[in-house]
């Protein structure tokens, strides 16, 4: 397949959402609202670009019922991937009962960054997904950029978990004081029931995912451009 227009054009970054629609909006404080907006926006852009560009337009015209079942299937897949990610976050140590909404919205946004482009591009076909995400399994530049954005979203999320043990998003003195108290109380931490930090749980991870996704959007056209000589795809 010859190299055509910018492959990652089907997804505009969802970062630049104007905040003047909402009162008191801020990414960190009303984070859940931000997550919803971001995921809806990215999904919409993805769908729109899918409808406009039609990256893998099949030649045969399918019936309406086929389209409807395909759409429903996609929805189910999306939901399943949300739950799947939720389960993985819990396995990674997210609280099981508290903060369910936060964890789930985090799962939703990660699915938006990863599953939605997959569904748009590959359809509800797990085998195709597995093929794309294994070595030497890519068959088009679309899939290449999909691979890069998805993997960079995952890596971003993964790296985003790193600041959690740090005394992040709190006034620095509190961290100092905590350990200072530990120094003074014989290296034993006995602050049972102390009022704890403002809840920051998914923020670093969602930000990581977002940055990873955006980085993927930036990297993938560049990568494809630099490697355009080596890219030879087997046609199916």
């Amino acid at each position: 397949m010859p190299l055509s227009a910018s492959p990652a054009a089907h997804t505009r970054p969802g970062i630049f959402i104007p905040s003047f629609f909402l009162e008191n909006f801020s990414i960190l404080e009303t984070h859940l609202t931000w997550l919803c907006i971001c995921s809806v926006f990215v999904t919409a852009v993805n769908l729109l670009l899918y409808l406009v560009v039609k990256p893998n337009a099949s030649s045969k015209r399918s019936s309406l019922s086929y389209k409807v079942t395909r759409f429903l299937k996609c929805c189910i897949y999306f939901l399943m991937s949300c739950f799947f990610f939720h389960v993985i976050f819990v396995l990674y140590g997210a609280p099981l009962i508290e903060l369910v909404l936060e964890t789930f919205l985090f799962a939703v946004i990660l699915s938006t960054f990863t599953t939605v482009p997959c569904l748009c591009l590959l359809g509800p076909n797990i085998k195709a997904w597995l093929r794309v995400f294994s070595r030497n399994g890519v068959t088009s530049i679309w899939e290449n950029s999909l691979q890069i954005t998805t993997i960079s979203s995952f890596i971003g999320t993964w790296l985003g978990a790193f600041p959690i043990p740090l005394d992040w998003e709190r006034p620095w003195q509190m961290a100092i004081e905590r350990k200072y108290k530990m120094c003074t109380s014989l290296y034993v931490c006995t602050r049972h029931g102390a009022s704890h930090c403002p809840q920051v749980w998914p923020i670093s991870c969602t930000l990581g995912a977002t940055f990873g996704y955006v980085a993927g959007l930036v990297i993938s056209p560049l990568w494809i451009y630099w490697n355009r000589k080596q890219l030879t795809y087997k046609n199916h």
Binding site: W158, M182, C183, Y187, A194
Partner: protein, 982 residues
Amino acid sequence: MRLGSGTFAACCVVIEVLGVALFLRGFFPTPVRSSSRTEHQAEPPAPEPSAGASSNWTKLPPPLFRKVVIMLIDGLRDDFVFGSKGVKFMPYTTYLVEKGASHSFVAEAKLPTVTMPRIKALMTGSLPGFIDVVRNLNSPALLEDNVITQAKAAGKRIIFYGDETWVKLFPRHFVEYDGTTSFFVSDYTEVDDNVTRHLDKVLKRGDWDVLILHYLGLDHIGHVSGPSSPLIGHKLREMDSILMKIHTSLLSEERETLVPNLLVLCGDHGMSETGGHGASSVEELNTALILISSAFERKPGDIRRPKHVQQTDLAATLAIGLGLPIPGSSVGSLLFPTVEGRPVREQLRFLHLNAVQLSKLLQENVPSYTKEPGFEQFKMSERLHGNWIRLYLEENNSEVLFNLGAKVRRQYLDALRTLSLSLSRQVAQYDIYSMLVGTVMVLEVLALLLLSIPQALSSEAELEVPLWSPVFSLLFYLMFLVLSALHVIVCTSAESSCYFCGLSWLTAGGVMALISALLCAVGSALAKMFADGKFLSKNPAHPKARWSELDVLILLGTMGHVLSLGASSFIEEEHQTWYFLINTLCLALCHEIYRNCFLRDDCEPQQCSHVEEGFVSPAPALQDRSIRCNMLEPHRVSKGPTSLDTLRGYEKWMVLASPWVILTCCRLLRSLNQTGVQWAHRPDLGHWLTSSDHKAELSVLAALSLIVIFALVQRRCSLTSKVAMALGLLGVYCYRAAIGNVLFPWQRDSKDISKGVIEARFVHVFVLGILFTGTKDLLKSQVIAADFTIKTVGLWEIYSGLVLLAALLFRPHNLPVLVFSLFIQTIMTKFIWKPLRHDAAEITIMHYWFGQAFFYFQGNSNSIATVDVSAGFVGLDTYMEVPAMFLTAFATFAGPVLWASHLVSFLSSETSGSALGHACFCYALICSFPVSAYIILVTSLRYHLFIWSVFSPKLLYEGMHILITAAICAFFTAMDQTNTKS
């Protein structure tokens, strides 16, 4: 000389242990302490010396002051009082310092300049080292002889308001107290108001002897906005008014009672220019110390400049002032101006008491104390003192008496200064030279290990160690000479005491020889690598190695973990790092499995009619893997199909499900014990189970766990050890029931709680029996070379013996950790390592990661407080040091040890040839990497504020870990030797 890579690695780790031990010895200087701790009170005070005529003054002198108020202001550095700030904001204090009845000093604090050790120094007069904390592990209370304890024993009533650290250090010492927690450093008014609000009431009352106030606000302001902030001025003014209030109230009381009182204003540590503290800058070390009492009258025109003294001097002074014996391990000397107004006989008596205490401390801590100049001075002044007493009792000429008295006093003061100096020189200083030598050894070993990776992981698992080649021996002798010369220069010019210089010349020479030999080995390895590199570049046909995702993950994970050790928060929450890494490892394994299982269905549909049937050609991913493995380990059978294809239907499903099962297990274990610092207070299953309401649940869980342990362990044991295992596990339950942790079903209430010594010994017997059987089998397999199964069984028996010991030592709520560990090992063996055919290096590193994670799953953390000391008493009637230490160490490091022994038994049963050697090498490398990096980090962070609270405990854990690694590597090598022989 050719060495197997296992032997080589074991030798390296042993040398590394030596290096780390030397480093630790330099990092934690042993504190000066008196051997008599609590018995001190029973000891009669030293009588007045006399020559000829006997003096009848053998009792302690009476107290000089009726009431003592100690006003401790956190972070009060000297220029806040004596500098321009003091003049501006503390007018009353300045007046007292310049014209009032007071003595002012600049008290120098020692490292670490943080509150708790400083409070200890003020009250015991000793210099607390970090090792103190390790020595009395489970009690935060101060056990050393100190002024507060002495005062309480003497019947003084003590009241305390302020930082709750005091309440922890001195539990049940205060008749009344109010500890303020200062969780929010940004709060600098509330913490002090909480202290001041009691003042009015307390000052009116007369029912106390000692009042201690600890104000935190100033230090908090320093932390928030630094020492030049305008808030400091407000705070100093506030403190000044409080001081005035206390002083006027004390003065008005004195008018009635006519006995002087003492008011002490002091700081615990200073404040750096950025507002922090903990390090050794002058601003942090110098604190203000002012003693105010009407006894210190002075004539107009008597200008007293603040003298430089040691902070530890206060303890001795307070003890004298209150008429108490001086704390036994105090290294301070009496602040002489405080007793200047007393008669000469009394002055000399006080000085003598202080000198006797210091010389006794010197005798206990310095072997060659008679040669110390301070001791000689003390003996001489004691003799003079005796003469003076004789003259005094003979009612001699008053002028002669006075002159001689002045001479004796001068002698005593000189002796005190010298004694105090030579005692405090013993501690509180990093012994940089020893640390450096240790670091060099560790780094050389690490370099050697890293350079020999290609050779050690080759198929022969052997490497050439060029120890005797003549070219290098010249270099060796040169290095040796240079290093020895350096050693002599350093040791002769060193001022502070140095452990490494204190070693005998032979030992030091041996260490130098070792260092130069290692350096030569590193050099030759480098040279060889360059030669090989040239050879490789000439050989373009060499296949490019490709790393699989798993290898990338392993490499990145190891590097990331090592880097994370530089941040105090990551050390505190190190368990999170490991949980995160093993979770990611499981997901990577999951990815690998799924790719292997499903991808071929997709890519090669012509061959894939049925999942069970299996096909011949390996997947592309596997080809990559096999190429890479050829690079690392050509001996491995990589061309054949993965055994994933040959699995039966249900087994295939198990393979697919196994990562998820492991992930679920890890998540459950994670919620069993909350550890670390930030989230440690969260409720967890462990607390729920150990609460007394849930004893029945705990009993059921413990019984179930023991049964599952038996089921998982017994399958590969011989019959005798099976029986022994069953009885042993039964014994474990009986032991826990005997000490009242769990219940028998027929037991309604736990009335009779014993120490369970018999039950525990019963289990110990079975542990030893199983270990003995295992060893016997191993020896047998060495004799009968052909029999391979005996060896496998023997190794497994040793492993199961360790499991039984762990089951005995673990708290009952931790038994599920053991169960899950066995379960995960079984699953990984059966469904992941065998079908996917990982190489020995990967399996080793996975074992290491899981071992680390299980270390934290047990509830351990990087603070000393989580060490379960009770494990050391299992089966022992009284405290016996060696077995108790062994049991505690095993119980603490059970996770890594069990995983490592599983690794040995797995590798020797599944693979053959050089796998054990490779595994040993990898284990040694991956353990020594964090230790070496951490040693360098700690050296560079040694003036960090959290060095004592966060970094030092971790350093101790790392030291212990490398020791255990050495033991494990020795075991590996022993197994490897038997392997090559058979």
